[in-house]
Amino acid sequence: MIFAALITASPLLYVATVTTFGCTSIDEITKLQSIRLERKAFQTELYEQIFDGQCVEIARGTLVEGSIEIRNSSMLLVDRQIEPPGFEAPLRDFKLKPTGGKK
């Protein structure tokens, strides 16, 4: 828990390795993940959620600020610092951006 708190206190930069999505609800992410392979159903659900402002699309290669979600370690909390409260996103769709020693 302390470790998780430390992680969330120090947002890092992540790169989306595939085109993915972020939502304001972990449940919505879970729902979208469950139908991700059903292309039409997935796109319909995601499009409607984007339209309603509950989700955003994150293009492959997009750089985001992120931290591991305390409540669910399979989720990345994206852009909380920039657009609080931020969006939940599937962690496996991102990789940590090497810092190159920069601070």
């Binding site: 120090s10 947002p11 890092l12 930069l13 304001t24 609800s25 972990i26 449940d27 919505e28 499009y47 409607e48 984007i50 339209f51 309603d52 402002g53 509950q54 955003v56 699309e57 994150i58 293009a59 492959r60 290669g61 997009t62 750089l63 985001v64 600020e65 979600e69 909390l77 994206v78 852009d79 610092q81 920039i82 657009e83 609080p84 409260p85 931020g86 969006f87 939940e88 951006k97 810092t99 190159g100 020693g101 920069k102 601070k103």
Partner: protein, 374 residues
């Protein structure tokens, strides 16, 4: 007052502007309905600042102007306002539109009736209409497209542009069955503006424009070289951040969003340095189930109203709204959910601000403001 720099504020001058129907904005001139004179003490427009970015010569089109390479203003937010002669409410109302639309959503309806912008002014609100950053009269970042044009980036790197179709509108605006163009029997939307019935037009679709939100930066300038530091409102240029700036500039404002932007007022309230949000109105969802204790501690001091209309096929309120209401109200806050059918107002669409009974719905909101926003 950074965001109002350059604004044509005329508050010191009492203006009596008579807006007759002949000068009111509408898409079909012949459809305009008469309305009595509207007396104002001020009106104008301004921008919430964007940021300047350098544009190299090779990205200037047409290339004949390449010698004009320089800096270009990006992601500034356009705001227009009207102030009634007799202000009757403590805080102004700042309104932002939803996906694939512009502030036109709040103006004269597609069949020529009074829009919410005029109605709220007539009801004594200083009323500010904003264009989402990257939409309509606000600025957007076109540089990425130019990079693709000259071969500096692959076409697949272009941000997607969201284009809403008529079929999509029928579905998400909840008008009825698109395949047969059959609206719900009690539908309140002016369906004669979307091709239904003899003599109908497609006037409403003039309001639907491409959505460039995916061009907005996920990472702000100064946050792109390794680790992030917390941003300040002046370092970000999203619509919520610009709304927070506007609310600060106004020394307090009620923010209202719709659909795609229904969560923006909450996001504005949570921006670092935000201290001007006095009320939140979210039309057709905009709830969050990922709020932290610190977020709730901020939001519990701001009255929040959710309004949803009719013909939902899923239970309302949605689970995120139920969770947020439990969190906010459990912490001593004031979050209200109103389903229009539950209070006897039936047949409204997602676009309740354009429906036949749009002013009746506005009265529900004004009544809530009067009772909850102090």
């Amino acid at each position: 007052m950074k965001g109002m720099k350059g604004a044509a504020l005329l508050s010191a001058v009492l203006l009596a502007l008579v807006l007759m129907p002949a000068s009111a904005p509408a898409q079909e001139y012949r459809d305009l309905k008469p309305s009595p004179p509207l007396f104002l003490r001020g009106e104008g427009s301004f921008f919430i600042d964007g940021y300047t970015q350098p544009i190299a010569a090779k990205y200037i089109s047409p290339s004949a102007f390449a010698s004009d390479a320089g800096n270009s203003m990006t992601n500034q937010m356009y705001v227009q306002y009207q102030k009634p002669l007799e202000k009757q409410h403590k805080y102004p109302l700042v309104i932002v539109h939803g996906c694939c639309l512009s502030s036109k959503s709040w103006q004269t309806t597609p069949d020529g009736r009074m829009g919410w912008d005029e109605y709220f002014v007539r009801r004594g609100f200083d009323t500010y209409l904003t264009e989402q950053v990257s939409r309509a009269r606000s600025g957007f970042n076109a540089l990425q497209y130019q990079k693709v044009l000259v071969g500096d980036a692959p076409p697949s790197s272009n941000p997607a542009i969201l284009i809403a179709t008529d079929a999509f509108a029928w579905s998400v605006f909840r008008w009825g069955d698109f395949s047969t163009l059959t609206p719900y029997s009690d539908e309140q939307f002016p369906m004669n503006t979307v091709g239904v019935g003899p003599g109908s037009t497609l006037t409403f679709y003039n309001q639907v424009i491409p959505d460039l939100n995916s061009t907005l930066p996920n990472v702000t300038p100064g946050c792109a070289d390794g680790t992030c530091t917390p941003s300040s409102p002046s370092a970000t240029y999203s619509t919520p951040a610009s709304m927070a700036t506007l609310a600060n500039d106004l020394k307090g404002a009620i923010l209202m969003g719709h659909s795609q932007s229904s969560g923006y007022p909450t996001m504005a309230a949570l921006q670092p340095g935000s201290e001007g949000v006095r009320g939140i109105i979210q039309l057709e969802t905009g709830c969050f189930s990922n709020l932290t204790a610190a977020d709730i501690d901020i939001l519990k001091h701001i009255p929040i109203l959710i309004v949803v209309a009719d013909h939902f096929t899923t239970p309302q309120p949605t689970p995120p709204c139920v969770e947020e209401m439990q969190q906010i109200n459990g912490a001593g806050g004031d979050m209200t959910f109103i389903s229009l059918p539950a209070i006897g107002i039936y047949g409204n669409s997602h676009m309740m601000m354009l429906d036949h009974n749009n002013l009746q719905v506005a009265d529900v909101i004004i009544d809530w403001i009067d009772r909850h926003v102090k």
